[in-house]
């Protein structure tokens, strides 16, 4: 699963995921269960909360996809 991210990064992520000790990944989203490893692998958030939970990784994915990270358009209710 971590092969695409490089062996070193894979070990670090796996280490963090075992930190909780209850079998559940320590770095996961509380709403959708997406893990840091999944975000590192494909850059795809599982829900809106993931954007806050994995800010660094997702911002990098946004920048890769769009070349920028700041919204300048409309907002709900404005």
């Amino acid at each position: 699963m971590y092969a695409d991210s490089g062996p070193e990064l894979g070990r670090i992520v796996a280490g963090m995921q075992n930190a909780a000790g209850d079998g559940r990944p320590a770095f996961s989203c509380r709403l959708c269960g997406t893990t840091l490893a999944e975000i590192v692998t494909d850059g795809r958030p599982g829900c809106c909360l993931c954007y806050g939970r994995f800010t660094g990784e997702i911002e990098q994915a946004i920048e890769n996809a769009q070349g920028r990270v700041y919204h300048v358009g409309k907002a709900p209710g404005k």
Partner: protein, 346 residues
């Protein structure tokens, strides 16, 4: 609300501005509900809950669109589901889904909402001709109405939060489907396509991402959704589409002046093939329709209205590839639709 789709979509009529070259304009807004996993990670119960919320919120849209109806994929038969694909309202993935996958649609298909496709909502407008401003105004209005009842996922930094980071920000994709047969015939397309990429506008084949052009049909759409305002996105797509439109007009005028005979011959061959094949693939048929459409728009084909040509595009079931309709059924359908078309000297 009825579980039926029975009217010819507005874009098929071909009545919009410059619809001889720009078959349709689409505006699409991707929106998510804050409290639910995105559809690919959601349970059937969560998908059903999202569908309920969106249906309830969309009832506010009936003030302007009283015939708005909600169609659940799980309750439509195969023909009805495929029709939604053919009229470019739903995707292959969406029509293959179950009860929680819904399309909310007004009968002319000018306004629709795909619920639980890649995002919880895809609010879409689809209109005949080159009308990016009108298409945007309509989805903007629908979005404001829906936002009064729905809690959208939104961040001040990233904008509207979507299931793919490539749609985050405005969530807006404006696209124009263009028939660029004149430029293709004059081999002028390559340079123009490269120039469009430099403006942040992409040009793809008939069925969007990852597809190549068939029948000289191209989708012109904004590449990024973040860091530009909605108006800026609309203007960029408008300016590239308008430029291509003007170039296509010039190419067609020159073809008509210098190569009238070859235009007629190509269209005659295409019409013969479309009308006399025992069986025909979607790829062959769409390819053959390009010279016929080009000649018809140049006034060289009688009794072959634009609407009939668009109906051919819809009815040949191209969206599902060769699985959509058997080659013999497709040939029979095209024979019927093109029965009265007539080319000088044919």
């Amino acid at each position: 609300m009825m579980d039926r789709v029975d009217r010819v979509p507005e874009w098929v009529t071909g009545s919009g501005p410059d619809a001889g070259i720009v078959i349709s304009t689409r505006a699409r807004l991707a929106r998510s509900l804050a409290g639910y996993p995105f559809p690919r990670r959601a349970s059937e119960e969560e998908l059903a809950a999202v569908a309920r919320e969106v249906r309830a919120a969309s009832s506010e849209l009936t003030a302007r669109f009283p015939e708005l109806r909600s169609l659940s994929m799980g309750r439509l038969d195969e023909d009805q589901r495929t029709y939604l694909l053919d009229i470019h309202i739903a995707s292959v993935e969406h029509i293959s889904g179950g009860e929680g996958r819904v399309v909310i649609l007004e009968p002319n298909a000018v306004l629709s909402i795909m619920v639980n496709e890649e995002d919880h909502l895809r609010v879409q407008s689809l209109m005949s001709g080159l009308v990016p401003e009108e298409a945007w105004d309509l989805v903007d209005w629908a979005d404001d109405v829906l936002a009064q009842r729905l809690e959208y996922g939104f961040s001040d930094r990233y904008g509207y939060l979507t299931s793919s980071v490539s749609n985050v920000g405005t969530g807006l994709r404006i696209s124009a489907m263009m028939h660029l047969a004149g430029m293709a015939a004059a081999s002028r397309l390559g340079g123009q396509l490269r120039a469009a990429y430099d403006l942040g506008v992409s040009i793809r084949g008939l069925f969007g991402e990852g597809t190549r052009s068939i029948g000289d049909l191209f989708q012109v759409s904004n590449e990024v959704t973040l860091g530009l305002s909605e108006r800026e996105i609309v203007e960029r797509v408008r300016s590239v589409a308008q430029y291509l439109l003007d170039q296509e007009r010039v190419a067609r005028r020159e073809l008509l002046a210098d190569q009238r005979r070859s235009l007629v011959e190509n269209a005659t061959r295409a019409l013969h093939k479309l009308r006399h094949s025992r069986a025909i693939t979607a790829y062959q048929a769409i390819s053959m329709m390009s010279p016929l459409r080009l000649a018809a728009e140049s006034g060289l084909v009688e009794d072959c209205p634009r609407g009939a040509l668009n109906e051919c595009l819809v009815g040949m079931r191209a969206g599902l590839g060769e699985d959509g309709r058997s080659g013999m059924e497709r040939a029979e359908f095209l024979r019927r639709k093109l029965a009265t078309a007539h080319i000088e000297g044919y």
